[in-house]
Symmetry: D2
Subunit: 371 residues, 4 copies
Amino acid sequence: MTEYERSLSERVRDFVDTEVIPAEDVLDQGDTRRLTALRDQAREAGLWALPLPLEHGGGGLPLAEYFRLAEHEGRSDHGPAVLGSASLLNARMLASHAHAAHRDEWLSALVAGELSVSYAMTEPGVAGSDPQAMRTQAVPGDTGWRLSGRKWFTTGAAQADLVLVMARTGEGHSLLAVPAGGFEVVRELDVLGAGGQHEIVFSDVHVPDTHLIGTEGKGLALAGERLALGRTLRALRWVGQAQRAIEMLARRATGRRLGDGVLSDRQLVQRLLFEAELQVRGARLLTADAGDLVAAGERAAVPVSLAKVAAARALETAVDGAIQVYGAEGLTAATGLPRLLRTARAARILDGADELHIESAARRLFRSYQE
Amino acid sequence: MTEYERSLSERVRDFVDTEVIPAEDVLDQGDTRRLTALRDQAREAGLWALPLPLEHGGGGLPLAEYFRLAEHEGRSDHGPAVLGSASLLNARMLASHAHAAHRDEWLSALVAGELSVSYAMTEPGVAGSDPQAMRTQAVPGDTGWRLSGRKWFTTGAAQADLVLVMARTGEGHSLLAVPAGGFEVVRELDVLGAGGQHEIVFSDVHVPDTHLIGTEGKGLALAGERLALGRTLRALRWVGQAQRAIEMLARRATGRRLGDGVLSDRQLVQRLLFEAELQVRGARLLTADAGDLVAAGERAAVPVSLAKVAAARALETAVDGAIQVYGAEGLTAATGLPRLLRTARAARILDGADELHIESAARRLFRSYQE
Amino acid sequence: MTEYERSLSERVRDFVDTEVIPAEDVLDQGDTRRLTALRDQAREAGLWALPLPLEHGGGGLPLAEYFRLAEHEGRSDHGPAVLGSASLLNARMLASHAHAAHRDEWLSALVAGELSVSYAMTEPGVAGSDPQAMRTQAVPGDTGWRLSGRKWFTTGAAQADLVLVMARTGEGHSLLAVPAGGFEVVRELDVLGAGGQHEIVFSDVHVPDTHLIGTEGKGLALAGERLALGRTLRALRWVGQAQRAIEMLARRATGRRLGDGVLSDRQLVQRLLFEAELQVRGARLLTADAGDLVAAGERAAVPVSLAKVAAARALETAVDGAIQVYGAEGLTAATGLPRLLRTARAARILDGADELHIESAARRLFRSYQE
Amino acid sequence: MTEYERSLSERVRDFVDTEVIPAEDVLDQGDTRRLTALRDQAREAGLWALPLPLEHGGGGLPLAEYFRLAEHEGRSDHGPAVLGSASLLNARMLASHAHAAHRDEWLSALVAGELSVSYAMTEPGVAGSDPQAMRTQAVPGDTGWRLSGRKWFTTGAAQADLVLVMARTGEGHSLLAVPAGGFEVVRELDVLGAGGQHEIVFSDVHVPDTHLIGTEGKGLALAGERLALGRTLRALRWVGQAQRAIEMLARRATGRRLGDGVLSDRQLVQRLLFEAELQVRGARLLTADAGDLVAAGERAAVPVSLAKVAAARALETAVDGAIQVYGAEGLTAATGLPRLLRTARAARILDGADELHIESAARRLFRSYQE
């Protein structure tokens, strides 16, 4: 890391620790005013949209450099949204695949934080790992398609200006952009007590030709393309939150008196720290490795799967250990630990359940060992 | 088990599955009208207060027999409250140790569900395992004590008619009964998203002599007495919820199509079921063993610690497996799994964190092996 | 347990601890003189062949009663051979299925310890779980069969007077008894450093009609029949060895000074004991449960699989913990721990690898939950 | 890695795979003729003593570069001995601390493979982690010391020309060099079936002044100095053997037919590979990290402890998985897996039991988090 990178990392970390984390409660409740204020602060601090393209108003940080600070940004689940990098996946997809008629407009608004885009893939009643069973469908209409279907776990759909929807089109799948008004939010899901993910319905809505993202029938390839980067980013954030949990564990254990000593003198508490540290450092290195390949555009499916699983487990171990050290108090919202626990539990399912990664990575590994 | 016991068990199980579980959402929100209605149903079904003393209106079931159906009753965290057995610990304590001036009145009201009693032990800022550090104190006053202090994780304090409070008195600790009005509920704790536990404050409140439970200075012995039974009951309920999670896992896995087959054909799903079943059956047997000793009034500290830890782990494994099989949907409140997950996570801390049980049980075991 | 059963259990345990365990080194080396002497001692102590049929000279103990002392007998892998119960599986099979021309002669000699019988099932290069791939074959000959093939992991074949061989016969499989002379021992396998298992070859050997065990073509059913009992017996012995390892762990930990205290004061050592005790007690209860069903002749596949896996894991955990507590010395043969470790590691493969039990038990469980 | 480093790594790996591994059986039996022949081959291949000092005949490879190939060299436990780098720890210690009267002679002979040096630290009956309890003692004599005591787990003592012995001298500890003849080998230890480690006795042997290594009374500091490098080297070798086990697992799983498919199609087998790969890659990265610090002479206690524990666990997981995939055959010596299993089990104790690393690393980590 260069001196500049190190300093940027530290500034991101400080900003998240001092500005974002104390605001997590209100941000959880969807307080957009506070979010807007924090984004303004981030802009002033020169930390806005760092990995987004320069030409559309972003910081222009190359992926490989951004990865080095993504862990810090991700110490809070709200970090990326506050710092304007939560749109990275959508921005890259639109930059490469949106129709020229909309690309620049959408991108500029997206980077500026003025356009909110959601990604709608999963459907109720259909295994996420089985795209052939998808039911949302777009049939050809006048100058475009007629789209009908139902999606859920659509993050931020209630506030979205644009939803990118995967739908069956003929033999294949295509990705279509549907502006607000074209879908109905039928309910907000309660995901381990948190909101922000919705079930939405498309009822024979018209989608113009220029709202096709990429090539007709090649939607699944597009989805695959964003997976590697998406998983890497999430793994980095989980490592950041795991590190945060370790620091909480350590602070509590060294500060809490028990009999003549402190909690951190107890071997079973030492073991909680050791196991968490071991997993978090391992996950950090595995994630950095995967990130290098992703940034270089190389094949990274196995390293990304390993990093994803390692980071999710490390987060679970670290948070679990911190809660044990806090005792019953660790179960209360006031400590912030339940929020980390929620992310940790979801991590073993989001971005592909562990079981899927085990099978797909092992198949690739077996093949590579055969060669 | 006799035929009658088996039939009673089944009736309890059916009642919980068909009446209590569907009402969990509203009961979680503290809907007392629904609770009252369900209690009436339980009375009509002859399932009310089964283990409570006959002479005060309970079912008079001996502990050993009650243990055989406690697993079923505990399939829902609300089961014991609805079926009137949640007061068992307090009833036994009052029956043995309350002053004659109040005993019968309190007991009859308690068994009838008309007196709500809370137990206040834990204090903010003090390790639960370190009673010497307790700060709540009662000093002698006119015909009784003046009590001051702060307690938290006091279950149901907001609705309590009577709180049993552990306080320092002179060299020892004493347990004192304080009626509503004698304490202030300063906040409800948010425990993994659930309410029902409170922080309460006693400000120089007068406690008459007849409100001493047991002997002055011997309060910790009283607390220890209820621990073995309390832990056994909770372990039984955790086994019940773990069994419920396994059934959910199995139902989903056998009902969910994936490609040509169903989820239950997949070895990694089979493994989730196998590991859960292995742990739940082991925990059930260990808990039954501990229960036999507790019911017989024999020394049971080690078996209870082992049963407690085994049941908490089994619950965690079963719920975790069920969520993996449900996928992202398993994280949503609609499935009921997050509620079980909350109980599972708390189980590793409540009734003594695992770490405490490991140390105390191992010390006893080492001694017994030395003999 | 009756008083008599308890006393018999204790006598078995004492005999194994004081006579068999000290002789393990020489017995491992195949010292038949010592084995014979110990068997004579067992006969004198009234502990010979307890579960074998009375009418052929055994103790006539019903299975359910024998199971209660099998754990003690199995504290040493040599226990069953010294106490004359190692032949139980073969004796039951011959009693039910051997031809009348040989049955009584074989059984009497077997129970007396004068006939050594081996069981030859597994073949090199063929998955044990795939009997259709078996290559050993018997074709009809004059008054019997001509048998050719190769088997390995045949325990005690070098000393065997009779080998029971599974072979393909026409469409099915049949079990045939081949006396010494009818097979060649081509090598002794080195199984984690231990001998006693052999690879043997049958080269067009004549097998008379009366040497067919059971019905032609129904050999696999016979094999299945002995599996449940065989697995239960092994699980009981593993629990016995696990208990022995725990006692070693405790003795060392309480006897070894470290700084001001002893090893058993250390929480990480306490944890080793606790985890071992938890698993061993759970496995003991699960194995007893499975044993009750097996003794009653009821369906027991799932309970046996669970007990088998639990006992193997408990043994591994207990031995592993004992070695950690002994430190480097625990790796040396003088402590006896490496012998237990060898049994522990093999246990996860013998009687069906864990993976097979997971799949087969889960399939049955899923079916039973569907009903 | 430069092209040269990569090519050197590959040559080391090829040499170990094609020359050393096939000779493991005879090398295990202490066949010095074969060892000598293989060493000659290594010299001819330009792979002899790569990390040893140039001026004494070694390859002069800096530590940081040597670390990159140590994993390959360590794919066999015999690799370092055959390739002449097993003496690295002793060579560095003698180079820095041996008396000028002997230094060059000893070093040249050591690097040439003509001087065999053992290191004697551990004593029977004394916890390795408790140097204050050490009993071997050297008292001042004419022009030197008189040394008496007993050591065990002294690797290669039977063939040693020189033993470096830690002994109490006055208030502190000192390291003394004792040539063959000055100690008696009283027995060879049987360590999980392997020999090569001895118990040796010093009976009032004279040790001249010039045989003091380093400063009198500062022996423990010397021992500490070699620990970090020693542990890093071993961790690298364990990663090498773990990688070898994974390759065996993959070869067997993809080559073994089962029913219609191959073993590698089974999810439970895929899981064995995935978990092993995840741990091995993590351990490799953690070990490289620790190695960088050690090579740079920086403080590395925590990273080394984490790397040591991670590598030992990864080895255990990979070997365990390979054995499960091989089935019963995996327990036989012919596959080579039991040898890897032996190393794996010992790894959790050698170089400090896991429990010691957990405590010492956690203490340091807690301190660093407090700052």
